[in-house]
């Protein structure tokens, strides 16, 4: 059993960035096609990272090496923990810690765009955290433990108990994939208000590490959808692909969503659907479980 866990973790650490990079490549090509352009090659994200790796080492503050490395390592760690069916609360906490290191890296640079980017990254953490905690609470109420493994071996798929949390999670995913709000942190639009915000002062290898961490992050959050459809791999795969396409469409349809709009709408969705779902589950809990 322990060996299986180790193999799972290693497989995740190797495969996640490969799939993450390919997904980013698909994303860029699809976005280009939506805008009736040809777009870059599918492997473009890998070329980008390889190029960044060979750039001159130039730091606005050398401490960013530690912060960006910690960000990458902790993101990979939480992903490995999730992939081996570990404790969901630990996953949430180490993800938060990882983002804190990214914010510190942005604050370390003495540059206004970087600082505003760090502040907006804090705002996006404030939007992300509640839904993750609600998801953890939901897991606990359905299975009686925080171990994601128990959620995966559940007879009835989690979506039956947590439909509201699922919809709220999908809504927040737009933000996590660094999509729609053009003025939050580091959205992928070519020209956005903060000139890449949180990463604006990072270059070369530091930026490459942040990019690889983002690939891990994409896979982590997309694979969280599995928690809702455990036991139905085909349906899970279809839902993940549909959700990813939906996010790209949202990205292209709403290119000028601001951070204020994002906070208002996503907190409202989290409060109504997420908290509402958990409350109803709490009230009805005794009847079903």
């Amino acid at each position: 059993m322990d060996i299986m866990f180790l193999v799972g973790a290693v497989l995740f650490l190797i495969l996640a960035p490969i799939f993450g990079g390919l997904l980013t490549g698909c994303d860029r090509v699809l976005t280009a096609r939506f805008q009736s352009r040809v777009g870059p090659p599918f492997l473009q994200p890998f070329y980008d990272v390889a190029k960044l790796w060979h750039k001159e080492k130039a730091f606005s503050n050398p401490v960013e090496i530690i912060f960006t490395t910690a960000y990458l390592v902790l993101i990979a760690f939480s992903g490995a923990m999730l992939a081996t069916g570990g404790n969901f609360l630990f996953v949430v906490f180490s993800l938060t810690l990882a983002h804190t290191f990214l914010i510190l890296a942005a604050y370390a640079a003495n540059a206004p765009f970087s600082h505003i980017g760090a502040e907006r990254e804090l705002l996006s953490l404030m939007i992300l955290e509640p839904i993750l905690i609600l998801l953890a609470a939901g897991c606990f109420m359905v299975t009686g433990s925080f171990e994601t493994y128990n959620m995966l071996i559940l007879g009835i798929p989690g979506i039956v108990f947590l439909p509201g949390v699922f919809i709220a999670f999908i809504a927040v995913l737009t933000l996590i994939l660094r999509k729609s709000p053009f003025d939050i942190s580091t959205s992928h639009h070519a020209h956005q208000e903060l000139v890449k915000g949180v990463t604006s002062s990072l270059s070369g290898r530091s930026l490459a590490k942040v990019e690889i961490a983002h690939w891990y992050e994409m896979i982590i959050f997309l694979s969280m959808i599995l928690l809702f459809f455990a036991g139905y791999p085909v349906i899970s795969a279809i839902v993940i692909i549909l959700v990813f396409l939906l996010e790209i469409i949202i990205d292209n349809v709403f290119p000028r969503v601001t951070w204020k709009m994002t906070i208002k709408s996503l907190w409202l969705i989290t409060l109504v659907l997420g908290v509402g779902n958990i409350v109803i589950l709490g009230i009805l809990g005794g009847m079903f479980l």
Binding site: P41, A58, L202, S203
Partner: protein
């Protein structure tokens, strides 16, 4: 062809250009020319850039900014002077406030003449710059 020339990120700076060349640079990003085909991104951030695209004849006010931006781009980097003003100062060459071309302030690798420059010429200039970028990367690695 290494990853460096497959993923050139641009920084565009208007050093007192009339905006004619700047509009053509933006045109190159539109669906008609779509330079993202070559992995080119308009970054707007010197820390991320590989190719520095400068338009305009450079005046007294912005030559400091130009030098500063150039210094902030990590090696290997290439400078492309876009338009006749950036290449030589053009008709403004003898003005009291004009330096007379980008190469009076920073080293320029590729000159793309034209008033204003056509997107096709601009793309050809960038492709030429990729060759220079590749040479510079090789030189940088040999130095290590």
């Amino acid at each position: 062809m290494s990853s460096t020339s497959k993923s050139p990120w641009l920084l565009h700076y208007n050093a007192s250009s009339c905006n004619g060349c700047d509009i053509e640079i933006l045109a190159a990003l539109t669906p008609v020319y779509d330079v993202e085909r070559f992995g080119i991104i308009n970054t707007g951030n010197p820390a991320h850039a590989d190719i520095f695209v400068v338009t305009g004849g450079v005046n007294e006010q912005n030559k400091v900014v130009l030098k500063n931006l150039y210094d902030q781009i990590p090696e290997p980097k290439v400078v492309v002077a876009v338009g006749i003003c950036a290449s030589s100062g053009g008709v403004f060459r003898d003005c009291y406030n004009i330096s007379g071309g980008v190469d009076t302030i920073i080293p320029v690798d590729v000159y793309v003449p034209g008033c204003s420059v056509r997107p096709e010429a601009l793309i050809e200039g960038i492709v030429k710059a990729l060759g220079v970028l590749e040479e510079k990367r090789a030189a940088l690695e040999a130095k290590k």
